[in-house]
Amino acid sequence: MKFFRVILLLTILITPLKANTIYNLIKIPNLEIYEINTKNKLKYFYAISSFRLGVQKNIACLNPDKQDLEKKFKTIYKILSRYSYGYLKKINLKYIVLCENLSISGINTAGIPDNIMKTLILDIKFNKDYFERVIHHEVFHVVNDQYKELFNEDEWIEFNDSKFEYAECSTCTEKLGLETYRKTKGFFTEYAKSTASEDMAEVYSHMLFLDKNEIGQIRKLDPILNNKISYIEDKIKIIDNSFTF
């Protein structure tokens, strides 16, 4: 035991201090700057090696392949450039972390928002069919975390058919499909049926992803979604009156 203590002490004493500004700011290790000179002042970092986060280290992500990163960054940058500095400031989003195979407790996920650290971690390898829309979906979670009191789930549930029930949580259900329904019937995707918060995120992401005519058609044909779209529209207007879908 003494031997290990001595080794530990020696390791501490001989390891030079490496000050890491990014780690000090957002408490995620192994990151480097990818792009910080952006119009809306979003700062993009990428993982130079894998990292684990959380009290139980249950959040994991790998360092991305450089070529993949280059390609995906262009897409991510374009999508997030849609958000103004003013809007991002109101929703408290400043840092984007790009990595690969992001997971929470072994379950793959497209993104993880951290409202306190103003950070959104994005998996650049997430299903490419839905990648662009999913970024908006994750941004909604940032919005929702920042304005919890604004997005009332009880009010939201009232929009659905009275017999419909969401699952207990987004990962305790088999409803994970992200393909947009042709006949919506109150939900844009199967995943929207998982929880009220995921449903809101799916509505928000579709409002930004689909063109205005498509949204207009859906509003005419689906009264439930029409209510949900109006709800999101109204709440976002409260946050930032200048934001347009």
Binding site: I12, L13, I14, T15, P16, L17, A19, T21, I22, L25, I33, I36, K41, K43, K94, I116, M117
Partner: protein
């Protein structure tokens, strides 16, 4: 009768070598011991400043650090900073957090004073004047020598602690309230005591005085 033996040439060379070795050893010892030897100490009285009302002089162990304050960038932050400077609140306060060639941090008025230094709490102390709001809206380039107000993880928690960066830190823009920039004496800060394996310093250096230019 004692016969005088003359030193041979090689013995003379060895003697001269030993004398030179002694002189260089002693010389080196004193040069190394005086860490401030090659640091220029700027005298604010002989410098012409554009905005003399916004000049503050921090006197550290190796000399003066002359800081220009920017009230137009962070009015409330600078106001708080000047209030504390004018009440001599920073005198004998420790540079408690120092990262070599990166930053020095000081200003813990509660646990960082020479006479009441508390290693267990240093860095968490308050001034008693309360927190002020972060001023991070105005553009400010955090280049080497910039002075900012330290805070907790949350915004609007700035109080008396401040830091000075020794290298450019573009990520600090929009994060920390800037209050000014070192215009003379950055080298003085590079000599502030640091530790190789810790940001927090055991037996730290202290601010001697911190005054506004008369």
């Amino acid at each position: 009768m004692i016969k005088r033996i003359k030193a041979s040439t090689s013995e003379k060379i060895i003697l001269i070598f030993l004398i030179l070795l002694l002189v260089s050893t002693l010389g080196t010892y004193f040069v190394i011991k005086n860490e401030c030897l090659f640091i220029k100490n700027f005298d604010p009285k002989i410098i012409n400043f554009k905005n003399p009302n916004n000049i503050a002089i921090l006197n550290a162990p190796c000399g003066n650090v002359i800081i220009e304050l920017y009230p137009e960038v962070s009015p409330n932050g600078v106001k708080r900073f000047i209030t504390l400077i004018e009440t001599n609140a920073y005198d004998d306060v420790a540079f408690h957090r120092v990262i070599k060639d990166k930053l020095v941090q000081a200003g813990d008025l509660e646990f960082g004073r020479k006479e009441t230094l508390d290693y267990g709490k240093i860095g968490t102390g308050k001034s008693g004047l309360g927190n002020i709001k972060s001023e991070i809206e105005n553009e400010f380039n955090y280049v080497k020598g910039s002075v900012g107000l330290a805070r907790t993880f949350k915004n609007d928690t700035e109080d008396s602690q401040f830091f000075i960066i020794l290298q450019d830190e573009p990520l600090f823009e929009g994060e920390y309230t800037p209050v000014g920039k070192v215009i003379y004496g950055l080298e003085v800060l590079k000599k502030i005591k640091h530790q190789r394996h810790s940001e927090y310093i055991l037996r730290p250096d202290f601010i001697n005085t911190f005054r506004m230019l008369d």
